[in-house]
Each structure stands twice: as C-alpha cells, then as structure tokens.
C-alpha cells in the first residue's frame, strides 16, 4: 500500500475529531448566539493548529509505549478506531477517540503477544482522572471566580462584556488545548511507526482537525451546545475553562484524553458546586461503560484486521479458500467466487448513498482488475442491471409513481440506440485502449455531474427532497404526452425524449448500462419533469434495455465466438446479487451519512478513474 494511502485513515479520524470535538469548546457560545458560527470556526481552527504545532509533540510518544507498529498496522489501528467511533456515533453512545486508539493498539499488542499492561495503567488512570479533573476544577474555581466576578464587577454592562470576551478567550484556550492534546490521536501512531516525521505528524494532524472544524462542525456545535446552554453564562464559561485546563494538564503529562469527558466533568462540577442534586449519575454510568466498551471493540477490530493482513500475507487464508477459486468459462475470468458479489456489495453500498448506480463502477472493475476487456464485459454489465434493479422498479409501480408514457418514449428511443451501441462496441471499440478511452469519457461526464450535484447540495445546505406521497392518476401518450401527478399536468414532447434516448442508448449499449442515469438529468432539468415520475420510468427503461442488450450481445448478428460478445451470465449474476443487497444497504445507510460529502468523494474518485483511462490516448496523440 502506498505511504500516502496509509495516512488516509488518520486524516479521516482527524477530520471527524475536529467536526465533533470543536463543539466542546465553542458549542455553548455558538448555540447561545454569543459567538457567530464563522467567528467560532475560524478561531477554533487557528488555535487547534497552533496547539498542535506548539505543544502537540508532548503527547506523540506516549502511544508508542503501548506497542511497536509496522506502517500497515498503524493504518489498521486508525481504521479500527475510526470504525468504532462510527459505530458508537450511530448508536448514540458516548465514546472517546483516545480510548478507541489505545484499545486498537492494545489489540495489536495482544496479537503480537506482547501487551504492556503497565503502560496501559497510566492511560487508564488518566481516563478516570479526566472527568474527575473536570469536576475538581469546576468545584474549586466556582466560588472564588464567582466572588471575583460578583464583587469585582458590579455593573451589568461590565459583566455582560466579561462573559462575552470570556467565551471567546476560553473557547480559544479550549481549541488550543484540544489541538495540543488530541493531535497525537490523529497522527501519533504514524509517527511512532516511523511512517512520518514528528513535524509532519503535527502539521497533518493539526490541519485535518482544523479542516473538520471548518467544514462540518455546525450540526454538532448546535446539538452539544444546546444541551449545555441551559446553564447560565458564568457556569457555561467555567465548564469550558475547566475542560481546557484539564486537557492542557494532560498534555503536559503526555497522555491524550477525551475532550468530551472533560467537558462533562466540567458541567458536573458546576452542578455539584451549586447543588449536588442537579448531577445526573446516569451520564457518569455511560462514561464508565465507555471506558470499557470502546477499547474492547476497537481492540477486537484491530486484532481481526492485523490477523487478516498476516493471514493474507502468509498465504494461509488463500490456501483455505482455494476451493472457492473459480474460472468463469465464458469470460475466462479467474477469481474467488465471493469476490464479485462482495466487491459490488461494497461499491453499491457507497454509490447508493450518493444516489449513483453501481453499474458505472462495475465496468472499470472488470476492465482494470479482472482484465476482462472483450465486448462480453459490456454484456456482463447488463446482467448486473438485470439482477440488481427489479426491486426498485417494483417499488415505483407499487407506489403509483411509474409513468408508462415516459417509459414507452424512453424505450422507443433507447432500444435502437442499444443496437447501434452494440455494433459500435464490436466494430469500433474491440481494442481495450480505445474502449478504455470511451469508458473514461463516460465516467468523466458522470464524475463531473456528481461533483456538480454535490455543490448544489452544499448550496442548499444539504437539504434532502421531501417524500411525496402522490400517485400518477392519468396519462396520455402521443407526440406530446401528458402525465397527471398530484393534480398537476406535465406535458412533454415524446419525439424529443425519443431522439435524446437514441443517443443515450448508443452510449449505454456500448458501455453496458441502460442509460437511465444519463437520461434523468435531461428529463429533470430540461423538460422540468418531477423527479418522482422520472426515477421509476428511467429505472424500468434501464432494466428492460439491459435485458434486450444482453440478448443482443448474446445472439446478435455480429456475435460469435471470435468476437467474444456473449455475456458471462454467472459472473454478471454474482455481481448483480452483491449490487442488489448493496443498494438496499446503501439506501438504509444514507440516513446516517452526509450525501453531499459522499457525492464529492465519489465524484473525485470517478474523475480520477476517468482521467487514468483517458490520459494514455491523449498523451499518445500529443506525443
């Protein structure tokens, strides 16, 4: 694995840490309207970076005391911690990044059979002391500071100013402490494994935390802030100050700790100082559970990851799985039987969360990974659609959102187009180099459109379209067709749709996709048809086109053993099975993931693949 890719899990962890934990320092100020969101994220990002660079090194070495790591183990440690944090976030359980990372390192140490429990003891003591430290700071400072503020500053205007400036100063201090203490959680394992130097560790860690603060902290700031806001300004200020102080003290000790648990301690301390009855002991119980469950889960995941890595490396797993090795007779592809469904399950799960069909990524996988470049690869792509799509089509028909007129118009245009596409693929694009250029062009369009769609979502603050329960009540097919949906009549030119569908069909026929995804933007943006009508018809048209496309490739006039056009039915079905399950899983996962960010990432990946496919041809032409 390339060095840069190994850092990706740490950068992601840093981003997530910044997005989540900045709420602990500026949540109160932003949620109460004391500090503007932009001011807060700017100040937090600057101070997080400063904290990382100035004092971050103090915590860097401590993680190395737990176990020695190879480069790839460092990657797996971060990946396991990240997964644990995601699971805990989805289950709304309190978890700490520091605890997840220490758990992962211990998991790896257990795998190697050399866990150092004496070093772990130091971490455990610090975890317990984090909320307790927050409580002690708040209780100890409550009365003296209160007396100072109440007696020293009498005028309401002056007190108002003290709180206003105080929230900015404590927030900045909190961000500084967060950066200095938690940067080790982000890049500490890479530094101890020798993958990067301490300077780069601090810089990359600080920048990734700051990026999380700047790009995705608003939601958590508002949520966390509102739960602290019922405190009066003085108590809120003191809680944040106690948290910052605790983090800073542990930075000097050299142990990364949880900022969330420090702020909980700070808030509890204020409660105890005012009246012990206000303390919620259930919160304490949850934190206690987190101390045990977080490292155990993270450690188990890391153990499994390292075990798998070593098993693959040594070839043992391969030996066990040899009975699943299979040579697909039609395509000649050789791989494990579980690989096609597994790959498409993962790919579809991710693409479905961004609203894209996995079929687009299937062809690059066949061409580049399985080295299946003959026209039969396009036909196999069609088989994927045949298996993966029916569930979605059925849902649209059941909900009354399926337009027969639009479907007919699409089919009349697409079907001849698919035939031309088939002809083009066999006559003009049998050469892998040319075909890759063609695939690259299609992917480039798709990637850019995905990025554009993500930008649109960012502009509209990622608002999801509301669910519409209406049904199609009347339809009329003709040169100008009409569809009545939710008591509104939509008229479109069937001829226009057919002509555009013909061109899309040519591309789809050659690539091995139904073309529905390429048609949808035209139908929605140009013809201004509602997305609820378009989706069902486009999906069904893709399905029927795929069936006919597969048949054309199998028995078409240009097909034969020499042209290798026949689809690999078994391979396609296995891909389709994975895609079918992945699409459903992705649709469920979509509720928990920010679609705009997934679209951006997907768009960038697709554009990257597209450029890799297009570039050889272009560079050849230039030279």
């Amino acid at each position: 694995m390339a060095k840069e890719w190994l850092l990706s899990s740490g950068i992601l962890m840093g981003w997530s840490l910044g997005a989540n934990d900045s709420a602990n320092v500026f949540g109160t100020g932003v949620a109460s309207g004391l500090v503007g969101y932009r001011t807060a994220i700017f100040v937090a990002a600057v101070f997080v970076l400063l904290g990382s660079i100035i004092e971050g090194e103090k915590c860097m070495g401590s993680l190395g005391a737990l176990t020695a790591l190879s480069h790839s183990e460092a990657f797996f440690a971060m990946l396991s911690s990240g997964l644990t944090m995601t699971i805990f976030t989805l289950l709304a359980l309190p978890a700490s990044t520091s605890q997840a990372i220490v758990g992962a390192l211990m998991g790896i140490a257990v795998y190697h059979g050399n866990p150092d429990f004496s070093a772990l003891g130091k971490f455990l003591t610090c975890w317990v002391l984090t909320p307790i430290g927050g409580i002690i700071c708040s209780v100890a400072l409550y009365k003296p500071l209160k007396t100072l503020v109440m007696k020293g500053i009498r005028s309401p205007i002056a007190r108002n100013r003290v709180f206003l400036v105080g929230i900015l100063i404590t927030g900045s201090y909190g961000a500084y402490s967060l950066g200095s203490n938690n940067v080790a959680n982000v890049t500490g394992v890479y530094v101890t494994s020798g993958l990067i130097s301490p300077f780069w560790g601090l810089l990359i860690g600080g920048v990734s935390i700051a990026a999380g603060v700047l790009t995705y902290s608003r939601k958590t700031m508002m949520t966390v802030g509102k739960s602290i806001v019922p405190l009066d300004p003085f108590s809120g200020l003191l809680a944040v100050f106690s948290e910052s102080l605790v983090l800073h003290v542990f930075t000097q000790v050299g142990i990364p700790v949880s900022s969330s648990q420090a702020i909980v301690g700070g808030v509890l301390g204020v409660g105890i100082a005012r009246d012990i009855r206000t303390v919620n002991f259930r919160v304490m119980g949850k934190i206690f559970c987190g101390w045990i469950i977080t490292p155990v889960i993270s450690g188990s995941l890391a153990w499994i990851a390292v075990f798998m890595e070593n098993a693959f490396k040594g070839g043992r797993i391969m030996e066990w799985l040899n009975f699943l090795w299979y040579r697909f007779p039609t395509s000649g592809v050789e791989t494990y039987l579980f690989v096609p469904p597994l790959v498409m399950f993962i790919a579809s799960s991710i693409t479905a969360t961004g609203g894209i069909s996995g079929a687009f990524l299937l062809l690059p996988f066949q061409v580049s990974v399985l080295k299946y470049t003959s026209p039969g690869a396009s036909a196999t792509n069609f088989i994927y659609n045949i298996v993966a799509i029916p569930g979605g089509v059925y849902r649209y028909i059941r909900d009354g959102k399926f337009s027969w007129t639009l479907f007919l118009s699409l089919m009349i245009g697409t079907l001849p187009g698919v035939f031309f596409g088939y002809w083009m693929r066999i006559v003009y694009l049998p050469d892998p180099k040319r075909f890759k250029f063609f695939v690259g062009c299609v992917l480039l369009y798709l990637g850019l459109r995905t990025i554009w769609s993500a930008i649109g979502e960012f502009r509209t603050a990622g608002g999801r379209p509301k669910q519409v329960k209406g049904r199609i009540t009347k339809e009329n097919f003709g040169l100008r067709s009409a569809v009545v949906f939710e008591n509104q009549t939509y008229v479109f030119s069937s001829l226009g749709v057919m002509i555009v569908a013909l061109f899309v069909g040519v591309i789809g026929g050659a690539y091995g996709i139904g073309g529905g995804a390429l048609m949808a933007p035209y139908l929605i943006s140009v013809l201004e048809l509602p997305v609820y009508i378009v989706s069902g018809a486009a999906l069904c048209s893709t399905w029927v086109t795929s069936i006919l496309g597969a048949i054309i490739y199998a028995i078409g006039p240009l097909s034969g053993p020499s042209t290798q056009t026949s689809p690999d039915w078994l391979l396609g079905a296995l891909f389709g099975l994975g895609g079918f399950l992945g699409t459903y899983f992705g649709a469920w996962l979509q509720k928990y993931l920010p679609s705009s960010w997934i679209k951006t990432a997907l768009g960038i990946v697709i554009v990257y693949i597209a450029i890799r496919y297009v570039w050889p041809m272009i560079s050849g032409l230039i030279s």
């Binding site: 109460s32 009498r154 205007i157 108002n160 206003l164």
Partner: protein, 208 residues
Amino acid sequence: MFKRFFYSEKNEQLVLKEMRTHLELLEQACRCFVDFLKGGDKRFLEEIVEIEREGDIVRRNILSTLYKGAFLPYLRPNIYRFVEIIDETLDLLKDKARLCEFISIPPILLDDTLQIAVLNTEMVRMLIIAFDTFVAGDDLRERVLAVRIYEKRIDDLYHDLFLRITKVSVEDFWQGRGLGDFFSLLVKLSDLVEDAGDVLSLLHLSLS
C-alpha cells in the same frame, strides 16, 4: 468579525438609557393621571395619550438595539419582557384615560381612587429606584420588596373600595360597565408594575 468583542459598549448603554426613559415616561403618565383626578382637567388625559405614543417609540428603539446584538442572548428574553410589561402598563394608562373621558367617578369613591393613583405613582418611582440600583450593580432585593409592599397596600385599598362600588347606583348599563372597567384597570396597573419588578430581579440574578 470580532468587533462585537473588543469595541465599545454603546448598544448596551443605549438600551439601559432607553429603559430608564421608558420608566420615566410611565411615572410622568401616572402623575398626569393623579393631576387629572385632583383637578378634573381633561388636558392631562390627552397628555397621557401623547406619553403612551412616546413610550411606543422608546420601546421600538430598545427592541431594535437589542436586535443589533446588545447584551448576551441569554439576557435578552428578560429585557424584552421587562420592556413589554412597561409598554403594557402605559397602554393600560392610556385606556384608563380614554375611559375617563366618558365616565364620571362618583364623589364617594374619588378619595380612594386618588389614593390608589398616588400609590401607583410612588410604586413606579420605587421601580425606577430599583432599576437604578440594578444598573449600579447593587443588591436590589429591598427595592423590589418595597414595590411588592406597595402592591399589597393597593390590593387592600381596592378591596375596601370594591365593597363600596357595589352600593353606588348608576344611570345605565354603559355607565356601570365603564366604571367597573376603570377600577379594574386602576388595580391592574399595580400588578403589572409588580411583575416588572420581578423581571428586574430575574435580570439581576441572570448576571450573578
């Protein structure tokens, strides 16, 4: 980006100054009403209506300054509430003045009415003193307690007055209804001023 944090406290000072003006207008309106009851000169009633209009302008100034960002968001709801109560009190005085243009207070009730109106004026004065104490950052518990004591005295007086109202004969239904409304408003004013005193205490507590 940071000017709210490091520049002058002009907005806060303006809000406090306007709140003081609002209270002074209330006191002035109360005095006009007392003067009307003493001499029966209806020009005082017109003056109350004018003062109420001025009060509306002051209220709008305060609200717009708060909207610009004066004071902590945590304090603003109570400041809004205080200003709204004073405004409602001024409205109530205006309604009372309008009523007095159409009804005549029976001579046997005039002394007690005057006494309640004087106590209302003193109560507002005490509220102003409490407000000044708040601005100075001192303990205002005693001032607010004094406001409550005034309210209690007015309630007692109204109780006696009410017993006598029932014995007064009226010419027609509208005269009787007008008189009933007038006395209700007279005593409601002290309730509102007491509420304003409580909100002031809350504001003081919010900053401690």
